[in-house]
């Protein structure tokens, strides 16, 4: 019976990373000097579970590392150590180190041993410097020590234990290896296995325990704790405790695994140890099969809904046998109920993928704390709407753009305390992250009360670089938009602090890839607001159905500015090929969908069809189609699964009648129309304000 322990690895990693979040949040909220006991306890518990878990799964180095942190926390908990800034800082770095080690263990990568060792040295130095009775001792090197080795200690006499399990020990579900491992976490301990009771192979019963151990445990271990470890087996073994006079000679736990493996070779007594070693050798698969933790309420709701669906189904199936017209009303009722059930079920299933934005917000307290310290700025971070939910995929991808925007706000937005005071603002700057739902979208706002965007300087730089013509007049919004232009570093315009980050064009592109938009509102001297609007999910899209010939296409509603019937007087052309449509102050190029996609249209006369004005890549174009059908939510299906990427098409969907319809990708459509035009000249729509 070999238990494949690696199957639990993923759960262990998920829980450990959650534990790290708890530790980090807890540490950041820890008031200096006024230790909130419950908060410290929470951090301690998180560290303790990580330690226990990593020891169980054979990640000795991680368990060992956590142990040092745990000791520090324990001292804080018992009031032996003051909660100081320096301690919290070191503990936070410890959290970083742990995260790196856990990620490396999960993905089979390598950690930077030097960095980890450095953090451990800091932790140990702290522990030694202020530690009470204990002095940090023989901490084994980070390498794959089979099990954690605790600190040796000092003047107290060592414990001499004898542990003589009865033969039926395995029958009670107890495992001596686990007990010994636990002992190892308590204090340094040396184990000698006694093989005398081992019978000949003929009489060997693999379900009996023949081994006995004599154990030497460092004197620092408390008797109560020692007894607690053996509590479960005191009916199934003979155990004696005694203190010995001479100190331990060989700290470390190295002997034990050898003895166990040896015994394992002779019989099969210590199978768990073998499984444990094997599990460490097979690297866990990288976190490719992502999983999701779902609120139990959501699952319950789902079960209820399926229950209702079953009732509806049985109601409808009554009609299959014999149908008379009198029951028509009931049938209609049943179908309505089915429709409602289906819709609710769909919503409910979608909600399983939904996670609160707080998961992404959680990293910011730390980031703001570190960065403001580095920049010598005083910043208060306010978070609101952490419970606003959005799709897991969107959540994962919005993290980086948010980090860039927050960094920018700290770096270029919020001023130094002295400057702020001089400008009549409080020295403490405010950075606010806010999330809320608005009409099928999630809106995330990053608001700072800093310097704001300096429109005059932005415009001057843009003119210098010929991004904007010398005589072009721009509205304030258009000027703000300029910071999203590629190659337009915010660093040299908005502030003199050298920018470290990725340009704003990347931020905008990332958001756009998610089907979202980003807007700016900024007042010089008052602050800036960045508003990101994202679809709740990538799996569903609001679409406008449009028809060309016998084909139906879906145009994403988010891209549509307006749809209109063509006014012949507003049509004009350039070089006889490019048709333009004058819409209010703008000339908008016309893309004929049937030409771009090479399909038959019912009409090629522009006045017989409709124009859908869409915006893509910052340009407006009029897409010419035969007619518009309804609007509906469509589920996006990939074309790549069984085929390939197709330019101009972002995916496909299945309509109500079971037919497939292509979803138009506006950016790709523009590319296609340029290729079709056989002209290198790229037509830029007018930016000028009349």
């Amino acid at each position: 019976m070999t238990v494949d322990i690696s199957q639990f690895h993923q759960i262990f990693f998920e829980e450990s990373f959650e534990g790290l979040e708890v530790m980090e949040t807890g540490l950041l909220n820890l008031g200096v000097g006024e230790p909130d006991l419950e908060a410290i306890n929470t951090i301690f518990r998180a560290a303790h579970s990580i330690k226990g878990g990593s020891a169980t799964f054979g990640f000795g180095a991680i368990s060992h590392f956590t142990h040092v942190q745990e000791t520090l926390l324990d001292e804080m908990r018992s009031g032996k150590r003051l909660v100081a800034h320096s301690v919290v800082d070191v503990l936070l770095r410890g959290v970083d180190g742990l995260r790196a080690m856990l990620s490396a263990a999960r993905d089979g990568g390598r950690v930077e041993e030097a960095v980890i060792a450095e953090i451990r040295r800091e932790l140990e130095a702290l522990q030694k410097g202020n530690g009470p009775a204990e002095t940090g001792g023989a901490l084994a090197p980070a390498a794959n020590t089979p099990r954690p080795v605790a600190r040796t200690s000092a003047p107290l006499a060592d414990w001499q234990l004898s542990f003589l399990p009865h033969a039926h020990l395995f029958g009670t579900g107890n495992d001596p290896v686990r007990i010994l491992r636990e002992l190892g976490t308590l204090a340094t301990c040396t184990a000698t296995v006694d093989l005398n009771r081992l019978p000949d192979l003929e009489t060997f019963d693999p379900e009996s325990c023949y081994l006995a151990w004599s154990l030497r445990v460092a004197g620092s271990a408390e008797e109560a704790k020692l007894r607690e470890i053996f509590e479960w087996v005191d009916q199934d073994a003979e155990i004696t405790f005694a203190r010995v006079s001479e100190p331990a000679t060989m700290p470390g736990f190295v002997k034990l695994p050898q003895a166990v493996v040896e015994a394992n070779g002779a019989g099969t007594v210590a199978e768990p140890a073998a499984a444990h070693i094997a599990a460490r050798q097979t690297a866990p698969p990288p976190a490719a099969n992502a999983s999701i933790r779902v609120d139990i309420d959501k699952v319950d709701a789902l079960i209820n809904m399926v229950g209702e669906l079953v009732i509806t189904q049985s109601m409808l199936s009554q009609f299959s046998g014999e149908f008379d017209l009198g029951a028509l009303e009931k049938l209609r009722e049943g179908l309505l109920q089915l429709e409602r059930n289906t819709r609710e079920l769909q919503e409910s299933v979608m909600s399983i993928r939904m996670m609160p934005i707080g998961v992404s917000f959680n990293r910011f307290p730390r980031l703001v704390r570190d960065l403001s310290a580095k920049l010598n700025k005083q910043v208060e971070l306010k978070l609101s709407g952490e419970h606003t939910e959005l799709d897991k995929t969107v959540l994962e991808k919005i993290g980086d753009p948010l980090v860039h925007l927050v960094r920018n706000a700290l770096d270029h937005g919020i001023e130094l305390p002295a400057t702020r005071l001089a400008n009549g603002k409080p020295a403490l700057g405010t950075l606010e992250l806010r999330a809320y739902h608005e009409g099928g979208n999630i809106v995330i706002e990053i608001i700072d009360d800093g310097a704001g965007l300096n429109s005059a300087r932005i415009l001057a730089t843009a003119r210098d670089r010929a991004i904007v013509g010398a005589d072009e007049m721009l509205t304030p919004e258009q000027i703000h938009e300029l910071i999203f232009a590629p190659g337009f570093s915010t660093a040299d315009i908005v502030s003199d602090v050298s920018g470290r980050g990725v340009g704003m064009d990347v931020v905008r592109r990332n958001i756009k890839d998610l089907g979202g938009v980003v807007e700016i509102a900024s007042t010089l001297g008052k602050g800036s607001l960045f508003r990101i609007r994202l679809p709740l999910t990538l799996a569903i899209l609001d679409g406008q159905l449009a028809c060309v010939g016998d084909q139906i296409y879906i145009v994403p509603i988010v891209a549509i500015v307006e749809s209109l019937q063509v006014e012949p007087a507003a049509l004009s052309s350039i070089t006889g090929q490019h048709q333009l449509y004058r819409l209010r102050d703008e000339y908008i190029p016309i893309v004929r969908l049937h030409e771009a996609f090479n399909v038959h249209a019912r009409t090629t006369e522009i006045v017989d069809g409709l124009l859908i004005i869409v915006e893509g890549d910052g340009h407006k174009v009029g897409v010419f189609v035969d007619e518009l059908l309804g609007q509906q939510q469509v589920v996006i299906k990939s074309l790549q699964t069984n085929f390939r990427r197709v330019t101009g098409v972002s995916g496909a969907t299945i309509l109500g009648d079971g037919k497939v319809a292509m979803i138009v990708d506006i950016g790709g459509l523009l590319q296609l129309s340029k290729l079709n035009a056989h002209e290198a000249k790229v037509w830029q729509p007018a930016r000028r304000v009349a």
Binding site: V599, T641, T647, V660
Partner: protein
Amino acid sequence: MSPEPTSPQASAAQNVAASGAQFLTFMLSGEEYGVDILRVQEIKGWESATEIPNMPDYIRGVINLRGTIVPIVDLRRRFAMVSTEYTSTTVIIVLMVKSAEGAQRTMGFVVDAVSDVHSVGAAQIKPAPDFGGQIRAECVRGLATVDDKMIILLDIDQLISSDSAFDPTAETRH
């Protein structure tokens, strides 16, 4: 061999036990072609497909196969044969196609009619001569003779992977 005359299926089963493979054969303009039966996922009647923009004419489009989007290839057009109206025997054979990297794709192939299931021993398969033209020699696994008829055994993986229109990394170009 058993003393009584056996049905094609029964003898096929015996041959498989010996060494050969089973092939589903289908008709294209009077010629009989075969594909590895283990790749066949289902056979369904023709239904109109949704066009994919800017594709060669032999890619008829995509259909909805119980929620998955499956591309449809007209084999007559693919092999530049005279294309005819689809009839009541016209079917789509849905096959699992593997790429060189091992990725699996599901695709449908329009053929005139399904014909039979034959088992063909490895020894019965003769290499195909290099005939040039629309179907390259490596797309043909070999030629087999069954009941005095020639069956062209297609290597469907080669047929797809040698065709740039199916390259998953490609971009549409005119």
